[in-house]
């Protein structure tokens, strides 16, 4: 390869979206009724064909609603790090999040589009980690091509409010510039250079990543948690470390339960069909599969799959 093509490759924008087919519930089980991503997509960029889920880069407007709607994390926004985002927001009293599609809007941190936050679990993880409320700057959304994010965002915020726990803050959607009350973050000279250093380092890492050839699609048997659940588990671990009793309690409250029936013939088919590894091989052959609630995303694929109706997933919401 010519050196010039390396530069081009590094400068070319990375695909907004990563599709991990092995995590997609419909890819795993053709009879699954899941249509979340292509039903929510406002620009019809996602389509289900005979060979599976297809994404049309030319149609995609980058609202990232599909990543928020996918229960299994099969669609992920590339180059988005919520851990880095949280680090930037920790020092701010009243954090406001804005987007990069509308650069004239104000905010303490930016995401490519706020549509990615239309996921109650992600909102919970972010507010739990910060321990305070966040506000989303939607003042320019109505003029934007991605205005479709407003309704799902409102729904997600409402769901977040319903299951809000004491330590997590609220999420407020701001449509009116007057109500924004934006306080520019002031920082010392040292903080400024630290910020500059961190951001350029992150940008460098992103550019370096583009030079890597995409790794082969992981085998369908490799189980992976959706990014929002990974973040939530990390946050829960840290925030509730001091009060282990609370940790157990909130886990019981947050995550689904499994009920096994006598009809289970211990074929372990559900262990195979589960996209996240919530169902685990039984401790000894011929026993009922084990269950890890914190890995369960409540997609109920196992329940749809089991012909014996040997199990049921109860989602608390």
């Amino acid at each position: 390869m010519l050196p010039g093509s390396h530069t081009l490759q590094a400068l070319a924008p990375k695909d907004l979206l990563k599709i991990r087919r092995g995590s997609c519930v419909r890819h795993r089980f053709a009879k699954s009724s899941c249509r979340q991503c292509f039903e929510i997509c406002p620009s019809k960029a996602l389509e289900w064909r005979d060979d599976g889920l297809n994404w049309d880069l030319n149609r995609c407007q980058g609202c990232l609603l599909c990543t928020a709607s996918c229960p299994a994390g099969a669609l992920q926004g590339s180059e988005i790090s919520f851990v880095a985002l949280l680090q930037e927001l920790t020092a701010i009293e009243q954090p406001i999040l804005a987007c990069s599609s509308m650069p004239e809007t104000v905010g303490h941190a930016r995401l490519p589009c706020l549509g990615i936050l239309a996921d109650p679990e992600l909102l919970l993880a972010v507010t739990l980690a910060l321990g305070r409320s966040i506000r989303l700057n939607l003042t320019a959304c109505t003029e934007c091509q991605n205005a479709a994010i407003i309704v799902p965002l409102e729904k997600a915020v409402q769901q977040h409010g319903n299951r809000q726990s004491a330590t997590a803050g609220t999420v407020e959607l701001i449509f009116d510039t007057a109500a924004l009350d934006f306080v520019e973050r002031s920082c010392s000279r040292r903080e400024f250079f630290n910020l500059l250093h961190n951001r350029s380092k992150r940008a460098g890492v992103c550019v370096a990543d583009r030079l890597k050839t995409d790794p082969q699609q992981a085998a369908y048997g490799t189980k992976q948690l959706p990014p929002s659940r990974q973040l939530l588990l990390q946050v829960l671990q840290q925030v509730l470390q001091q009060t282990p009793d609370n940790l157990e309690q909130s886990k019981n409250h947050l995550f689904p339960r499994r009920i096994t029936r006598a009809d289970c013939r211990t074929c372990t088919g559900c262990v195979g069909i589960c996209p996240t590894g919530a169902l685990l091989p039984p401790t000894e052959a011929g026993a009922i599969p084990n269950f890890s609630a914190e890995r369960c995303i409540g997609c109920r694929l196992c329940q749809d799959f089991c012909m014996q109706s040997g199990l049921e997933i109860i989602v608390t919401d």
Binding site: R21, G22, R26, H27, R28, F29, A30, K31, D51, G52, Q217, A219, Y220, G221, R265, C267, T268, G269, C270, V271, G272, I273, L280, P281, A285, F305
Partner: protein, 260 residues
């Protein structure tokens, strides 16, 4: 016309020696019988009838029938299918896409989810086997226990000395198949795709000392298999034909009646 691979097993030629099954195990590195799974891509149905001294014994080789209308392929829930029909009509399996749900095993008329004790006497068999989650398919060669402590070598020692697991590893290159399959997926006969694409015969066919197995293209009227089918058209039978799966493994003549 595209190829349509199949096999004729001449039961009159077959002496039930088991060389086909051994050849297969050697070629495809299949594991030991365990946890209700035979891991035998080539197996036998054995039957003893009558009362002594008027007894009859038959030993019939069985393998994946590579059905034209394969229920295992239809049952596979994954997109693109992990169990699929190849251009040469063989039923192949992709290990990377297989999620180990075992619907194929359940759908196949020639397979069982769990084999019971009767399979040891050849009363039952399974052409699709499942490798248990979290359990190595070559566990025997990782086992450090010695049969006679301080005297015999353990499986792990043998594997270490030879430098491969299993020690008799046949490290072939096949389109979609790994020479040793992973845990948590099913596995089955691929009609030695890695050999047939290289112009060789399947291992079971080559191993048969009695030339009872004829492998070839059913679409080619000049092939040995087509000729054998034509010559024995009166005695041709397929297993569980009433299931409507259109198997491509044919049995001709009879095990111990030379007049047929």
């Amino acid at each position: 016309m595209s190829k349509k691979y199949g096999m004729v097993i001449d039961l009159h030629q077959c002496v039930g020696c088991g060389a086909c099954a051994l050849g297969c195990k050697n070629e495809n590195n299949t594991g030991d019988r365990a946890d209700g799974q035979s891991h035998n891509w080539a197996d036998f149905v054995m039957q003893t009838t009558g009362v002594f001294p008027q007894t009859r014994y038959t030993q019939m080789p069985v393998l994946c029938n590579h059905c034209s209308d394969a229920p295992c392929v239809m049952a596979c829930p994954v997109t693109p299918k992990a169990m699929f029909k190849a251009d040469d009509n063989t039923t192949l399996h992709n290990q990377d896409r297989c999620i180990g749900c075992r619907l194929c095993q359940d759908a196949c008329p020639y397979s069982q989810l769990i084999l019971d004790e009767t399979s040891n006497q050849g009363k039952n068999y399974s052409v699709i086997s499942f490798n248990l989650h979290g359990k190595s398919t070559t566990a025997r060669w990782q086992d450090k226990s010695e049969l006679i402590p301080g005297c015999t070598a353990s499986g792990a020692q043998v594997a270490a000395k030879v430098g491969s697991v299993p020690p008799d590893l046949n490290n072939y290159q096949s389109g979609d198949y790994q020479p040793v399959r992973a845990a948590g997926v099913v596995e089955k006969c691929i009609l030695c795709q890695h050999r047939t694409t290289a112009g060789l015969l399947p291992a079971c066919v080559e191993a048969c000392p009695a030339d009872a197995r004829i492998f070839g293209d059913l679409n080619d009227p000049a092939s040995a298999i087509s000729k054998a089918l034509k010559a024995n058209s009166k005695s041709v039978q397929r297993l569980k034909e009433d299931e409507g799966t259109e198997p491509n493994i044919y049995y001709v003549r009879s095990y111990n009646d030379p007049t047929k």
